[in-house]
């Protein structure tokens, strides 16, 4: 099994609190998707992560949660990450 390292950043204060750090580096298998990263995070930090980061069908990101890979927002959780990528979870700031 080959592994890659990715940096994960949390810009959502709620996630920071849940996870306990602003950012971390984790190891995942080659070919992992954003969804796989979230599953990995839940193995490290607890299953609660899945509730907040994934929708009820556990298929895609929870509505309004954005995921940026190296400063570009990806359209869904099927996006495959690469070694050295920076993955940022943030909220889609809206009007109000």
């Amino acid at each position: 099994m080959k592994y890659i390292k990715v940096r994960v950043r949390y810009l959502i204060p709620y996630f920071k609190k849940l996870i306990g750090v602003d950012e971390e580096t984790i190891e995942v298998e080659v070919g992992s998707t954003v969804k796989d990263i979230i599953v990995k995070l839940s193995e490290i930090h607890g299953k609660e992560i899945l509730v907040y980061m994934l929708d009820d069908d556990k298929k895609d990101l929870r509505e309004n949660v954005l995921c940026m890979i190296n400063d570009v927002v990806v359209p869904n959780a099927k996006y495959v990450v690469k070694d050295g990528d920076t993955i940022t979870f943030l909220i889609a700031v809206d009007g109000g």
Binding site: P13, R62, E63, N64, V65, V73, V74, V93, D94, G95
Partner: protein, 635 residues
């Protein structure tokens, strides 16, 4: 034979002629409810039919509409907003503003889905409505009083401590063009100057009270089930939890780091004191507690107590994002105590915090550039960052004193009065001050600002980051592909068009845009909305019919403006937005004017409008607006 029972509405509108004192009740058929739903829809229907083109917004001929909707009163979070509309004295366009809280539900429960005010009273009055009965009462003793004084006095003299009160402060009486209407001291129908419309009619307040609900909903069980689902699930949505924790200030720091927090009159996009005015800072310093609107567990509205010498009364609530950015980053003020005090002045005297803050930031830039001097300002050193000067000028605006009298006209008219090149720094669209979101970092917002029928408005559609990913709620609206926030090509035009229709639907229904997806805070889906409408009314409607209704209303308000002489030339943004941001992480970024104009043209075509932005006859016929055709195709 008994009449078919009505579900979801009273079928009664109240008409109050302030000139004659006559109050009449009109029965309105279900067909009108189905075609217009409520809120913006009813307002558009009434104002287009009843106002003559060219009506002076501050004359007795203008009409002021308070409208609820077919779903107002359902026990579901986010359904609580009263829509106030008239021809706007700030823009001369169709004008509309909404306020949350509890007033809309109380008004509808008092027996009337809509109240229309016309004419002008000889001396100050207020309207008192209770359980299907309405009367005008003397208000001379309330004239000149601030909002809290009026609200408390009315409740006391009616011996109705739980009545809901909408009123104007002294700024509305003095016809400040962005005077607002305050509801229960801290909920505002802020934008567009309807406080001035009330002031021009000598209408100081409207108080409503119901002891029972005269209408039924068709399927209460479904409504209660949706409420239960919401309460069991909203904490799974990070956006909703953030809003509940920090209120609308939840995104300020992110906007700042993204380089699009409007700063110093939109010169730049980052404020070095952003941390001091963030949601986190507010929670740690002056927050007392949070409260919510009817049935809403998020409780996003802050009540604050600022520290001396800027001590505030929690009864006036606390500053939210737009207010914090308007008096904070825009004016260079990094002190939440000062901002809260400014918020209180606005609420007590009754002016829109966005227009007031943007007007002062505009004047500050003119002062810094030497276009105005202390001679103009009456000795006030109106530099960016000067808190004392900001508060002094705000008091002058609400009292229409000195240079404040100029700014009380709004930045468009103020720039014309000042001359000397001031226009270049006036941030407005169709006469209304630009709210605190910068389209240079979210390009679709430029279309919303340009195409909002009421002038610059940040709540015409979700903002661009929402569309950067796929989601079920967007797919339900027919938006299937993700599109970058800086894109302003054909895909973005389609997205904004559809999304404007959806937000327009929410304005017809009196909905808080936060709680429905697609929005940063959203929990309920567009399909929930259809379920709610059907459960309330017993109809078997679809998202298709509801979106077409919104399209009907969108075209009707567009036609209102066209009849007033507005055209494609007015769908234009301030020149500054086509120039690069001068500082912040997006330094140099600007809107591409050529692409923006292309996008506008494409929007017109998608909407079924001609090259001048006028709905085609075919579009009007399609939307059952044949009665409008002759009005805008004369000759």
């Amino acid at each position: 034979m008994s009449a078919k029972p009505l579900f979801g509405f009273n079928g009664k509108w109240l008409r109050v002629n302030l000139s004659t004192g006559k109050i009449s009740i009109e029965s309105v058929p279900e067909e009108i409810y189905r075609l217009y739903l409520g809120g913006r829809g009813f307002a558009a229907y009434i104002l287009f039919r009843e106002l003559r083109p060219g009506t002076d917004p501050l004359s007795p001929d203008n009409k002021l509409v308070f409208a609820t909707s077919i779903i107002m009163g359902v026990p579901i979070p986010g359904v609580n907003r009263v829509v106030v509309a008239a021809k706007s004295p700030l823009t001369n366009t169709f004008g509309e503003s909404e306020a949350g809280g509890f007033f809309a539900i109380e008004m509808k429960s008092s027996g009337f889905d809509v109240i229309v005010f016309e004419g002008k009273a000889e001396k100050p009055v207020y309207l008192w409505v209770k359980d299907g009965k309405a009367e005008l009462r003397e208000a001379s003793h309330l004239w000149g009083k601030t909002v809290k004084e009026v609200t408390e006095s009315i409740k006391k003299e009616l011996s109705e401590p739980s009545a809901r009160v909408a009123c104007i402060g002294p700024a509305g009486e003095k016809l400040v063009r962005f005077a607002n209407i305050m509801f229960d001291n801290r909920y505002a129908a802020g934008r567009g100057g309807f406080g001035a419309v009330m002031g021009s009619k000598k209408l100081k307040a409207v108080a409503v009270k119901a002891t029972k609900r005269p209408f039924d909903f068709y399927d209460m069980k479904t409504l209660i089930d949706i409420n239960r689902w919401f309460n069991e699930n909203w904490k799974k949505f990070p956006g909703a939890v953030l809003r509940s924790t920090y209120g609308t200030l939840d995104g300020l720091k992110q906007l700042n780091s993204d380089g699009i927090l409007p700063t110093l009159n939109f010169i730049g996009g980052s404020f070095d004191k952003a941390d001091l005015i963030s949601g986190e800072a507010l929670n740690k310093t002056i927050l007392l507690d949070r409260e919510g609107c009817f049935a809403c567990p998020l409780r996003c509205k802050p009540r604050v107590k600022a520290k001396p010498p800027y001590e505030t009364d929690p009864e006036y609530g606390g500053p939210e994002y737009e207010t914090v950015a308007a008096f904070g980053s825009m004016c260079g003020i990094g002190d939440l105590n000062v901002i809260s005090y400014a918020n209180q002045i606005c609420n007590a005297y009754g002016v829109d915090t966005i227009s007031a803050g943007v007007a002062i930031a505009f004047a500050m830039e003119l002062f810094e550039r030497g276009i105005i001097t202390e001679k103009d300002t009456g000795g006030i050193k109106l530099s960016f960052g000067n808190a004392d000067a900001m508060l002094k000028m705000l008091l002058k605006i609400v009292n229409r004193e000195g240079f404040g009298n100029v700014l009380a006209e709004g930045v468009k008219r103020a720039a014309e009065i000042i001359g000397r090149g001031a226009e270049k720094f006036a941030m407005y669209v169709k006469g209304r001050e630009v709210p605190l979101h910068d389209p240079r970092g979210k390009a679709g917002l430029a279309l919303q600002y340009a195409l909002s029928p009421s002038g610059a408005d940040h709540m015409q559609a979700p903002h661009d980051p929402i569309y950067e990913r796929e989601s079920e709620s967007l797919k339900a609206l027919g938006i299937t592909k993700a599109v970058n926030r800086l894109d302003i090509g054909p895909m973005k035009v389609k997205v904004i068009y559809y999304a404007m229709l959806f937000f327009g639907l929410e304005d017809c229904l009196g909905i808080c845009k936060f709680l429905f997806l697609p929005h940063q805070v959203g929990v309920l889906s567009p399909n929930h909305l259809v379920e709610i409408v059907n459960a309330a009314t017993g109809w078997k409607t679809t998202l298709w019919e509801l979106m077409k209704t919104s399209e009907r209303v969108f075209n009707l308000v567009r036609c209102f403006n066209i009849r007033e002489g507005f055209s494609a030339n007015d769908d234009m943004l301030p020149e500054r937005l086509f120039e690069g941001l001068e500082f912040g992480s997006r330094k140099g970024q600007k809107l591409d004017k050529e692409k923006f104009l292309e996008a506008l043209k494409l929007f017109y075509e998608m909407a079924g409008w001609d090259h001048d932005g006028r709905p085609t006859k075919a579009k009007l016929y399609e939307l059952d607006l044949e009665w409008v055709v002759n009005e805008i195709y004369k000759g």
